[in-house]
Structures are given as C-alpha cells and as structure tokens.
Symmetry: C2
Subunit: 358 residues, 2 copies
C-alpha cells in the first residue's frame, strides 16, 4: 500500500460527445450517462475500475467547469479540489499538463495513469494487472507508456499503434490514424499493430519533461504560473492559460514526437463505445438481432436497437437495422448504417429553437 | 326556422376505436381528438356542421357513460339531458332506438338526422343542402334514408349501397359489405354503387315503426319501459334494457330488411378517417410525400406520416412509408401498409401492465 501513495489516476472527463444524441446532451454528455444500462454511469465505472489500486484521494478528474457538479455527484468519494476544471476544451495535451502541474510541487514522485472517462472494459481484473505492470515499468524507467489492445477485427474506427517487437511491453514504432478497411486488414494480418486505447501511464517527471521538450509553448504557459497551482489563484491562472493555449492532443503533440514511448499490449476486452452502432455491437442481442428491452413490443423487426423511457409503451413493426432513441423531449429514428450522420443532424438542430435540444 | 323546431340531430359517439392508437385510447377515443390537426375535435366539427340547420337544444349525443363529461366539455352548448349514456355498447340499432324513444313522447313529429361523430366532410355547405333535402323528403314520405357518397376510387374499406336508379334520391336495391378490389372496381364501373356513409335521415315515426317490424325484440325492450324515458328513472331503465339487448347494427337489423329505404347520392367529399392510412391519404403532403410538421427534421424520408408532441425534437432518417406516432406515454412505428396490424398489437398490449396503455 505504500507504493500506492504515489500512484495517481487522472480521469479525462471533458468530452461533450454528440454521437449519443438524443440520450446525451451538451448539458449531460456520455460519461455521465448509463448508456449501457448497467446501473452505473461511465465515469462511475471508470472510478470503480481504478479504486482497488489507487487511493480515492489520489484521483484527479479533469473536466469542463460546467460538469463540476455532475462529477462530484457521481463520485462523492472525491473532494472539490480533486475536480480540475477546464474553462474551455483544448484537447488532451493541456488537460494532461494541468494535472501534471497540479501534482508537481506536492507529489514530485507521482506515477499516474491517465484514462478517458467513457470507455468500457470487460475484464477489470486483467485491466488492473496491466495498469499495475505499467506503473512498475515507468517507476523504473523514463518511459511514456500507452495501452495497446490486441485487435480482434479490422476496425476502421480506431487509431493503431505499430510496435517494433511482440513483447508484452515494447517500444512504439509509429502511431497510425484510423485506417481504411484494406489497411486495417493488413494491420490485423501483420500482427504488430494494436488499437490505441487512449490510456497512458507515466511518472509526472517524465511527462513534464516530455511536454517541455515537445510542446514547449504549452509547457511554458503552465510553468510561468506554476506557483499558483494548489493555491486560491489556480482558477484564475488556468483561465488565462487555457484562453491562449493551443488545442492539441497528447498523441500528436508528444507521443508521436518522443522516442521513449512504449506500449503494453493487452487483452482485457476494450471498447470506446463511441457510437450507437458500437453500443449495438457490444450489447447482447435477442434471436432477431435486436437490442430491445423486453417491455418493448417488436413485430417483424430485426437488427434494431431501441431505447425509450422505462415507463413508456413502445410498439415497433417491420423495422430493420435502425436505431430508435426516445427521450422525454427528443426522438431519433436512424438506420444503424447512417449513425455518422447524427453530427450533421445536430448541426442543423443548433439552428432551431436556440439549440435547446442539442 | 319554424320547421327547424322538429329537426333533430342524433350524434353517435360511443366508439372506442382503437385504430388511432397511441393517439386514441379507450379513455379518449378518436371522436374527442383533433387527429386532423384542424384545431377542433371530430365531435366538435360534427356539432358545428349541423348547428346552422338544427337548433342546439335539438341535438342528442348517444355515447358511453364514460364519455359523458368529455361530450359536455367539448359541446358546452348542450345540457346534460342531451347526452344519452349507453351503459355498454350494443352497436347502432339500440343506440338509435334509445334516441327515438327519448323523443317519442315529447316530439312525436320529430325528423332526425343520425350521424357518426368522427367522420370528415369537405364541403359542409353542400353537406347541409343534402341533409335538408333528405329531411324534406322524409317529412313527406314514410322513408328510411341513407346518404350515399359517389365513389371516387375502388375503395375496399367501405360498404357500398346499390341503387335501382340514378336519380339524386333513389330506392336502395341492396347493401354490400366491404368488397375485394376486383368487386370494388366493378362497382365503380357500374356507376350505381355508392359508399355507405352511415348517415341516416328519417322521421321518428318511421324509424320506430321499422324497429317494431324488423327488430321486434329490441323494440319491445324499449317499448316496455317507454314511460320512464325523460324521467329520473330513465338511467335505470336504459341500464336494464342494454344489459339484455342484442348487439346489432341498424344497417343489418333494419335497413337491409326494410323495403322503404332510399339513398341520397351525394358529392360533398367524405372520409370516415378510419385509420392512420386514411388520415395520411387525406392530409396535404410535402414534396417527399410526407405528412410531417415543419419542426420535425426528416432526412431521406418519404411517404411517412409523423406525429409527435409539439414541444419535442424529432429526427427521422431514411424511413419510407411508415407511420410514426409519439405521445408522452407511448410510441408506435409501423409501416403504412401494416396499419391493420394495430388491432393485434393492442390485443397483445392488453396483457401488459394491466392494459394501461390501451
């Protein structure tokens, strides 16, 4: 337990993801919802996944100021100071820099795992074993570690990590953007490509050094105000830093440029649950391929996912491969194959009714 | 106006029609709804259609006891005594007998039009001219009159009336049940078949005599309690009569058996709005053949009718020839071609949740 004292978990929870509309809204994004119907929200699952190996007081949640209250409600184990508020989203590099500078003075020996708040992990025991082995690795070495998932299919919705070797922990050869199907199939065949889960492990010293070297502009913004972190002036400083900081991802800004990046190849079952379609793929289906609560009446209906308020009577006849999401103030009916179209729908909707449904 | 004093209108409003589920419910059937979106309910339209030619105090509405309050709310011009309550629906013959016996003592010279409460009439002026000509006809003759609509298409959803001659008012040769398409086409070609609109005109004397002759069992039930009509004992008498009365339509029980039945052939534009599909056919459509309020966003969607609460955001993508009806506690998605299936759906639904959604 002594080693745990220096172990921190940074949960990134600033997303305003629109792809689960109308279940998700700007005012209530995916990480605060129980989209999977497990009885717990994504961020709650994320917290509980790490809680056995990280002390509750060593969690930091970085989120938008608008969601501070939601975080504190859903994670009552945390104190207000553990919720770091971004005044504006600037992608993952400034988000991670914020957490690193918060820890710098008081916890110089911190080792941290950085994780999104809205992914799904199947085998949580195995996941924790992976994270702990990564933490041990970065405690002994100046390494930036990522988690790579051994791919089970040629998914075109994920980024890939190419490794040099097939060891459990190996140096990263390159990061690859979301590929087309042909490329994804060649990755699968090659065997040394892993899905980029967006989960990172490093010591605070290592990430600060990497930021200083590869993103000096971002680093300097934080470093100039380093004295104010952990003081009542932090909020003002962060507001001014984020106002001028570039918006850049940690992958693009740091990991793709650094030469001390390693990947832990893993097999704990992972899904970013990025779209209604991926939720459909994940979910148990009935014999007609439907993901439909029992109380919903379907006739001649196959391949559909239907969500509606518990207390509502729903009858669906002769629908094939659609997503139907009904909420008290919005209804969406959309083919599964057209779910990427939801973003356009929301753009259109922003023009209507002062965007109050978005 | 003097002749009007003996003119009565009997509105039959006892239907519990299930075919407009989920907009209609047993507790709020079609006649009390503004399904067409005109700003007025069907029964209100029906009342206003006759009001220029029938004094308000000469209306009788026959309905189920459960709907008495709805009738009085929607037709505040009527007094409580003008709402005749059936304890149980026994089809149209007992319903009409009830109205006839109510009028018998006080209005022996009454001439009445009997009309459903939930049909749509396009040209109301022309409609009233038709009804008035029928009323004049039955004032001079011992005739049972029906309104026949000159068919504009081989509709298989309506009953037909075969006439002997092509005069505006002609004796009825026969009543025909809903035909198959081939038969309907032959009716249209023959030229002497009319749609049976279920609207009747007769004097009270004539209908009472016809009931006595052709439905003596029903007639006798009412005749034995005739003294109690218009007294405080009427409700009890009606309860006992309906409890034992056969359930039979005026068409089958009287009109098909009588030899003094005439039909007024008419062309005022009529639709019984019997199903979601017929409402779709009736409604103005956009260039994609959709019947959809402007605030509903459709993409790649054609031939659909979509109804939802005014205040709800609705997005429909790539749907063709469906009916979508959303209400606060129920949602139905059904192909237009399968709307006859709704009855089965409701049967299934009666098994669920104590039938509270039916």
């Amino acid at each position: 337990m002594d080693t745990n004292k220096n172990r921190f978990c940074v949960i990134m929870a600033g997303g305003i993801g629109s792809r689960f509309w109308p279940a998700s809204r700007r005012s209530l994004p995916k990480q605060f919802l129980d989209i999977m119907g497990t009885g717990k929200t994504f961020i709650r699952h994320t917290f509980e996944r790490f809680a056995p190996i990280i002390p509750a007081e060593n969690f930091l949640v970085v989120t938008n100021a608008a969601y501070r209250q939601l975080v504190l409600e859903q994670l009552p184990e945390l104190s207000t100071e553990q919720v770091l508020c971004e005044p504006i989203g600037r992608n993952t590099a400034p988000c991670i820099a914020y957490a690193a500078f918060r820890l710098k003075a008081q916890h110089p020996d911190a080792v941290m795992v950085v994780a999104p708040s809205d992914h799904y992990i199947f085998d949580e025991e195995e996941f924790r074993r992976n994270i702990e082995s990564c933490m041990e690795f970065v405690q002994q070495r100046d390494a930036l570690m990522t988690i790579g998932i051994r791919p089970s299919r040629p998914d075109t919705g994920y980024g890939y990590i190419q490794t040099d070797a097939r060891e459990e922990i190996a140096p990263v050869a390159s990061f690859r953007e979301k590929p087309d199907l042909q490329t994804a199939m060649s990755y699968l065949a090659a065997g040394n490509y892993l899905w980029n889960a967006g989960i990172f492990v490093w010591s605070n010293r290592t990430i600060l050094a990497a930021l200083e070297r590869h993103l000096p502009e971002v680093y300097r913004l934080f470093a100039e105000r380093a004295d104010e972190f952990g003081t009542p002036r932090e909020g003002k400083a962060v507001g001014e830093i984020f106002a001028v900081s570039p918006s850049i991802s940690i992958d693009y800004g740091v990991l793709e440029r650094a030469d001390n990046v390693y990947v832990r190849s893993s097999d704990f079952g992972w899904n970013d649950v990025g779209t209604w379609g991926s939720l459909y793929e994940l979910s148990p289906k009935d014999s007609d391929g439907n993901v439909v609560p029992e109380r919903i009446q379907t006739y001649e209906t196959t391949g559909c996912m239907i969500k509606a308020p518990q207390e509502k009577a729903v009858v669906v006849d002769s629908l094939h491969d659609y997503i139907v999401v009904d909420t008290p103030d919005a209804l969406m009916i959309c083919p599964r194959s057209r779910e990427q179209h939801i973003k356009q729908v929301l753009e259109d909707m922003k023009q209507m009714d002062d965007g109050r449904f978005v």
